[in-house]
Point group: C2
Chain length 146, copies 2
DNA sequence: CCAATTTAAGTTGTGCACAATTGAATTGTG
DNA sequence: CACAATTCAATTGTGCACAACTTAAATTGG
């Protein structure tokens, strides 16, 4: 069983990189990365959010997010503002071009849907469930809480 | 279906990062990364190999492998030697400490097996199959051949 | 035979992931 | 109130992933 599990990990690693490459290609005209796209998806669906909450959703820390958000700000898709109530907090919100991207990139989910090669909704849901189990379980053997 | 497929991608991304973190923790005493470990696994099972073949197995180019192999060489787990027949080729082989690591790290597969949280062999094989399908399919929508 | 092409590895540069640290602001507690 | 502990974001540093390019060697095709 042990060797098979290392195969699971490698298969995961390969599949993840393949999907990231697919996104990279689809996003190339806008020079956006997959992680930058994920941040935009959050902002499109949930509106203004502090850096910390974005980090909770994506499980990324400020070491990753700070420079990434700076790049999104340089591209003028988002703005960052210190919170008035609590000035430790930085709120991230979309600019008008950031909002406009939602339509420009509306074709991507369907392209990705095709790219997964999964036969039907059922297969996709089964895979998601299986992946969630692996994620949770791996987090447990990793460092205390988090 | 489209949104579910983006969920598949995010689940993949999360699971992959969670497993990499788990490996990182297990490998910490030797200051090895997951990718370095993968290279060692290849060398343990297949012996001396040129850089190009390692790259084919892991789907990594020399831009990733060259510095990674240099670090493994700095740690004296491997040596690199120009091929006598074809001096474009660099052959990678294990040193004695590199060989010795195979025993030192023999506990890792079992720890990872536990970490996947998968109920049985059948579930693991189903997941691998599903991930292979996604990888292949994603590679198809990505840049021509490769 | 030799010029053009191809192949292998390395280098450079960008961005993400993550650990560790810093600094500023807030909160909790005596 | 005072001050210790906590929280949040940013910074620094390491290593991987990958694109683009370089260099050197081998192959090929005329």
């Amino acid at each position: 069983m042990a060797i098979v599990d290392e195969m699971v990990c490698f298969a995961l690693y390969s599949a993840s990189r393949a999907t990231t490459r697919a996104y990279t290609e689809l996003l190339a005209p806008w020079k956006l990365t997959y992680t930058q796209y994920l941040v935009l998806v959050i902002l499109w669906t949930e509106g203004e959010k502090p850096v910390r909450e974005i980090g909770e959703v994506l499980q990324l820390d400020s070491g990753t997010l700070s420079p990434l958000l700076r790049r999104l700000e340089d591209k003028e898709f988002i703005v960052r503002q210190r919170d008035v109530q609590d000035s430790r907090v930085v709120n991230v919100s979309l600019t008008s071009s950031g909002h406009a991207l939602q339509n420009d990139l509306a074709h991507i989910p369907a392209q990705i849907a095709c790219g997964t090669g999964l036969p039907d909704l059922k297969a996709a849901q089964a895979l998601i469930k299986s992946l969630h189990r692996v994620t949770e379980s791996m987090q447990e053997i990793s460092s205390p809480d988090k």
